[in-house]
């Protein structure tokens, strides 16, 4: 579904990603972990071109991420959930969810609202559909944001530290939604600090350090038996 080859990314003179190769198969849940500044969020943001890449190739669902029209085509198929939710504050929860299907997918208002209601129901927020974001808790906002991304019927979902800005008691409700999605077979790339989630839901774990993939494999294996000293050092600090 996603192929990344020899991806390099510079911010000015600073090389943040130093030749990343990775692949994500359909229905696979790939969890990316690593310390702050390791490049994991940048990698995720490159996947739908929120960051320009310096060199290398990215292909998503057989579409190469190279021209402007391809970028829009890919963004339609790739949902993204942000650390700070980024809900549209001037719209209700339902309006947040139905806007893009209407103006990007050209669905009728009725069709879009059917999808919107179904998805808000799925994330457990159908009773909040007419609330504005500022009246929702962090966890609720993030669940609306997930519904908003899903409303485009994406083939891949990207999660950029989706629970890092949440109060601890709200992390669970968001992870639960993500877990359900994974069970339904959604292809997911998840950048997270939630090691429990990584272990339980991830099909494959990727550990990034200083812009390179240091180790990857089944989560259980990496957690119980990390081979690389850098992985060992990182895991010993957080587990």
């Amino acid at each position: 579904m996603i192929t990344v080859s020899n991806l390099h990314k510079y911010f000015g003179k600073l090389e943040v990603l130093k030749g990343i190769d990775m692949e994500v198969k359909e229905r696979e849940v790939v969890v990316i972990i690593g310390a702050s500044g390791s490049g994991k969020s940048t990698l995720l943001r490159c996947l739908n071109k929120l960051e320009d890449i310096t060199s290398g190739e990215i292909t998503i669902d057989h579409i190469p991420l190279n021209s402007e029209s391809n970028v829009n085509a890919i963004r339609r198929e790739v949902g993204m959930v942000f650390q700070r939710f980024n809900l549209f504050p001037h719209m209700t929860a339902l309006q947040n969810v139905v806007l893009a299907p209407q103006i990007v997918r050209n669905l009728s208002k009725q069709e879009a609202e059917e999808i919107g209601l179904e998805l808000l129901n799925k994330v457990g927020l159908s009773d909040k559909m007419h609330e504005y974001p500022r009246r929702l808790s962090g966890g609720q906002q993030q669940r609306v944001a997930i519904a908003r991304a899903l409303a485009m019927r994406p083939k891949v979902m990207l999660f950029d530290e989706a629970t890092s800005a949440l109060d601890p008691e709200m992390v669970g409700e968001v992870l639960a939604v993500m877990r359900d999605l994974a069970r339904e077979g959604m292809t997911m790339v998840v950048v997270t600090h939630e090691m429990g989630f990584a272990r339980e839901v991830g099909d494959r774990l990727i550990f990034i350090d200083e812009g390179v993939i240091v180790e990857e494999g089944p989560p259980v294996e990496i957690f119980s038996n990390p081979r690389n000293p850098r992985t060992q050092a990182f895991l010993s600090k957080i587990l």
Partner: protein
């Protein structure tokens, strides 16, 4: 010239004539606000465009009209521009020239207000919009501009009030606005103090109504939802 008694009654007597002038003042203000907002939006977007040429053109326009006096701009367009055209201009060219000068001036200030408003919106909003597949234009139209609009209402209100006051410069090219009408009456009657006091009170009334209107809009917008 002997200075006679101050005739305060004349201020009231001339009120109906001054109202005619005030109508012209308001017409010019409304027209230049209308075109100024359109120009302002276009040039604000131009100033943030990717193309260096567009950016340069927009910046040049904005800098010129913010950096030179409105009176000079009025003279350039009223006296200067006709030199470029060989044909004779219509008799009422001063109205056209005045409206163009005021609109261009308002557009430059409004452009900077819009730009500041747009840039004050968290970048995450544009990223969220683009990540949903919206085009740049759609993201502006549905996400950024509606939020920026709330931010720009207070500075926009200030600009409109300034514009209303500055429109008095139009009197110099013989547009019969409030200022011009006052000047004519004062010149004919030698009663400058009562007449210009009346003119001042009338400008003040208009700016106060305008500023109340801005406050009201601001309150209503912030009540509606997010803040």
């Amino acid at each position: 010239m002997t200075i006679g008694a101050i005739n305060w009654g004349l201020a009231l007597d001339s009120f109906p004539v001054l109202v005619q002038g005030a109508k012209i003042t308001l017409q010019f203000t409304v027209v230049s606000i209308f075109f100024g907002m359109i120009l302002g939006l276009v040039f604000a977007l131009g100033r943030m465009a990717k193309s260096k040429i567009i950016k340069f053109l927009a910046a040049t326009y904005i800098d010129f009209f913010r950096g030179t006096p409105l009176l000079v701009q009025i003279f350039l367009i009223y006296f200067g521009l006709p030199q470029l055209f060989p044909f004779t201009l219509p008799d009422n060219y001063q109205y056209i020239a005045g409206a163009i000068a005021m609109s261009l001036n308002c557009g430059a200030y409004t452009a900077e207000i819009f730009r500041a408003g747009i840039q004050s919106i968290d970048y995450g909003q544009a990223e969220a919009a683009r990540s949903l597949g919206m085009s740049h234009i759609q993201s502006m139209r549905y996400i950024i501009l509606p939020q920026a609009f709330k931010v720009v209402v207070p500075p926009l209100g200030n600009e409109f009030i300034t514009l209303l006051k500055d429109s008095s410069l139009l009197a110099i090219i013989a547009i019969e606005d409030l200022m011009y009408t006052g000047k004519i009456i004062a010149g004919r009657t030698f009663q400058a103090l009562p007449i210009f006091m009346m003119v001042a009170v009338m400008y003040l009334s208009m700016t106060m109504v305008l500023s109340r209107l801005v406050n009201y809009t601001e309150k209503r917008l912030s009540k509606s939802d997010n803040g």
